[in-house]
């Protein structure tokens, strides 16, 4: 793959709670970007229990473990192509760098080497989407550093979950990330809960950048068929919500619904 002078955009999908839909969102983000003819690589950095390949029904031969080993051995001989697995659904295709196949491999991954792998991918792809585990690990902190945008996925169900979101956000702010780098995305907004969205926003002192509709059935079906929602012939509300999120990220958002509130909140931030 030929080197390009500019580097790709890194979108990390992170959360402080498990089972909030990080993997599903990562996959659909990657698929939607690929559908728009961007060159996309999805990297599964939930090293121990990564589900990207499970969800996509693909069987990788090589993984991030092999890639970072190769980098450690001799970075000059390292070529990303050897380690990626292609996902294809009709005419849409994107690259996947899988999580390790064995637990002991997951345990022995060098953060420095992963950074080098990612940096190489940035030279070759327009977008790199990173699916993560829910912890402030060395690796996660390192990739958040190099991310263009952190998609912070939250759900509003239990008080403890919200407490962890708040603590996580405060931690990221204390590390020094711009608030602009962190985008709150609320998943399952209509799920049964007694907690009001506004209360959460007040606690976080931040608005949700995007809200995804609760559609457990669609999500489950997509996991079972291995076809991302955004690539499914059957339109789902959740799939369309993710498409709109990508539209925001790629600056293609038509000046409709969101523009009024968008501008005003942007103004508010500017003068805060």
């Amino acid at each position: 793959m030929e080197e390009r002078p500019w580097s790709g955009i890194v979108i990390t999908v992170f959360s402080t709670a498990s089972a909030v839909g990080k993997t599903l969102i990562s996959i659909n983000m990657a698929a939607e970007l690929a559908k728009q003819s961007y060159r996309v690589c999805l990297v599964d950095l939930d090293l121990q229990f990564g589900d990207v390949c499970n969800y996509l029904r693909i069987t990788p031969q090589k993984t991030i473990f092999d890639a970072q080993e190769a980098v450690r051995l001799d970075i000059d001989k390292f070529s990303t192509e050897e380690y990626i697995t292609q996902y294809q659904q009709e005419n849409v295709t994107f690259a996947v760098l899988a999580s390790p196949l064995k637990m002991e491999e997951a345990y022995n991954i060098s953060t420095e080497a992963v950074k080098k792998v990612l940096s190489r991918l940035q030279g070759e792809y327009d977008y790199i989407v990173l699916d993560t585990s829910s912890a402030f690990s060395d690796l996660n902190l390192a990739i958040m550093d190099l991310s263009t945008i952190i998609t912070f996925v939250g759900i509003v169900d239990f008080i403890p979950t919200i407490k962890n979101m708040k603590i996580g956000y405060d931690t990221m702010r204390s590390i020094g990330y711009d608030r602009n780098k962190i985008r709150f995305v609320l998943n399952r907004s209509n799920s049964k809960t007694r907690i009001e969205l506004q209360d959460v926003e007040q606690l976080l002192e931040e608005e949700f950048y995007h809200v995804l509709t609760n559609d457990f059935i669609a999500a489950r079906d997509s996991i079972h068929t291995g076809i991302p929602l955004v690539l499914d012939q059957k339109k789902t509300v959740l799939g369309q919500d993710i498409q709109r999120l990508i539209a925001k990220y790629t600056n293609r958002l038509e000046d409709t619904e969101d523009s009024a509130s968008g501008v005003s909140s942007w103004m508010k931030r500017l003068f805060k």
Binding site: Q48, F49, N54, A135, K163, G168, T171, I195
Partner: protein, 375 residues
Amino acid sequence: MEYRVVLIESNRIMLERLSSVIKNTKDCEMVSRYKNPHEALGQSGVFKPNLILLDIDETANMQFVPEFKQSFPQAAILCLSSQWNAQASSQAVQAGAKGYLIKPFTSDELLAAVETFGKNGMGMLSETLAFFSPKGKSGKTTLIANLAMALARKSGQPVGIIDADLQFGDMAVFFNLNPQSTIVEAVRDIKFLSPITLNSYFLPVADKVRVLCGTKRPEFAEYVDLKGFAELLRMAQSLFRYILIDIPPAFSPISVAAAEGATMVYLVAMVSGGFEIRHMQQALEIFKAWPDYAKRVKTVFTRVEPCDSASLGKIERELGYPVEAVLPNEYLLVSAAANNGRMAMDIKPDSPLAHNIDRLADKICGKKHIRWDKS
């Protein structure tokens, strides 16, 4: 006077110092004191002591514990040492002492020791149950909180919860606590603690249930070193009949240390139509390194609908490993309780969730009776 105390201490200055503390302690009477166990065994019978404090820094003294026990069957024996030593403590308890106290002690510490060890003795039979969910989100915090209550109720003995989910521990929120001391402080101070002083780091949440809360901020996690944590676990084992540890998701040094320090590991996963069984299999694969893993590692599935033996059997077949318990989906019940910070108290005792947790508690308690019969 409730306690008639006999003190055995070879160091003259320490003897004076401890005597004065005992004399000034409410409900305590210093009936006699000796520099060595021979004198005490020969003479103190006339004073009818019910509490014997025996210094074991004089290592030879340890061997007299059974003799004291025989000569004074109505008395509790507490061993004294200038520093905590898990091995000496367990030897003392095996020899028949009720507990272990660091000297010099204060009046409060003496009373706390008598109260804590007096009734049940130190946890020679302590069992540590570690709860681990490989990929997170499993409902294990709910399970732990309610199981602790059930175990305390059934056994009538003290139960401790340790929130070792260092980055995002939820116990404090679940019980609506605002702890001054957490696992961070406990591990930091462990070298200077004894079981009695460690007990104060655990906050009471119900009769006989105490909680050591997790870190307040994720960055504090790095202050919890593994050696200190293992020591904390050993010391806590002398305080509680059952210890329930909430372990963070994924294999990490802390989760491995907690699992290794435990008598029993419960792998907990929530059924969500995804790949939870595969993750459970991957996790079990790691535990197979233990020669006794089939006995020590149990699995629990939550949000099982319908929650019956047919579902349990189905999961077992798919998993290829026994399933210890299945818990039903009680989302609204649990979320309301969690949001009110009354996790373990608000779950209705007649709900299917409470019922199934109760059954698990029965299994845990019942197993112990069998062990007692054998010994």
